[in-house]
Assembly symmetry: C2
Homo-oligomer: 209 residues x 2
Amino acid sequence: MTETALAPVRTKPSFKAQMLQAREDAIIAAVNRLLAEKGFDAMTVDEVAAEVGIAKASLYKHFPSKEDLACAAMVRVMRRAQAFLASLPADGRPLEQIKAVARWTMELQLAGEMPSLPSQNSSLRATLMNSADYMNGLIEISDRLGRWIEAAQSEGSINPALPPLAVLYTLYARACDPVLEFLKASGQFSDAQIIELVMSTCFEGLEAR
Amino acid sequence: MTETALAPVRTKPSFKAQMLQAREDAIIAAVNRLLAEKGFDAMTVDEVAAEVGIAKASLYKHFPSKEDLACAAMVRVMRRAQAFLASLPADGRPLEQIKAVARWTMELQLAGEMPSLPSQNSSLRATLMNSADYMNGLIEISDRLGRWIEAAQSEGSINPALPPLAVLYTLYARACDPVLEFLKASGQFSDAQIIELVMSTCFEGLEAR
DNA sequence: GTCTATAGACCGATAGAC
DNA sequence: GTCTATCGGTCTATAGAC
């Protein structure tokens, strides 16, 4: 990838690649939406092709299987999460950083942009674990959250009796918490109210303080 | 169905019905196990028949569709829940009753006996909502929990700022909380420890008190 | 001999793959 | 746009109870 100022030629292949990239982005966005709306099992690749407006065969030029489609959507949301983490003020208190992340995942879910996968599907698990992009993203995010969790426990803002892993999993679980959709379906609360309610039960618990 | 003391004949049809009932119980138990293990979509009715050790056609003598199989499993777990509720001491404090129920659902899940259904499947939803057994059970359980929640909020043991519905949904969500399986998969905790951890995050929250 | 319930082949539709 | 596998659901011949 060495470039000099004398080689503007590069723009032509770049244009083709750009189109390819744009279509891939459109595919992933469609997959992301459908995964959020109906989940992996209920999503068909015909739907994906129809939503993107391309032939099913073209899909397979980009992604070798349905699992890889889902994986690409997960990588995308992981990158968005990493971008969000990077956008946080570096000097925030650890508990505030953690809360900001939790709130962000819930907003994503309420906006219908959080892909949901069945946790039991083994072929899907295998695809995800074989994806370096996915695993690296997951590990980096977990490391970052893990450091904040430990810092928050050290300063006494998060319950130090909890194993950091349990805190981490509890945060991840909020990203696919069915309580959000149930409360939304009840029609009694605004999105903002729903998020505040779940934030409260998550961080303050059900018991009165 | 008029019977007199002169008609001991009645034991014969009763025996037949008993066998029929026993097989139905076996079917539902198998469905329950498979639903807990792999979920509704991944479960095939061939598997169910194989697990019970009967022919698939015989399954359809008892239950007209796969959805009805799942519904029967849900009714079963609902009845177990009702039996558990009935077994609780009537004089317990509301918060303790609620905690006992939460703990019970988690134990069921860790034991691999909590059937899990996709919340988006519409034909399944329709079957469940058309089942009087299911709906009545669900409503009775919700009513009971609802009364305890309001009592606990009145006496100040559960955060009175939370809408009772939000508390109810939060409790229901613990019955299918993925945190349990994740913590179990980590191999670092016993079942009892996992339950205490999730009970703590649920009722006391992540923040230190 | 009749009748019920079973076993297992079979069908049609759907969806993933190419 | 075709191929094939899978799966929900059905059909039929048969075995066994009475």
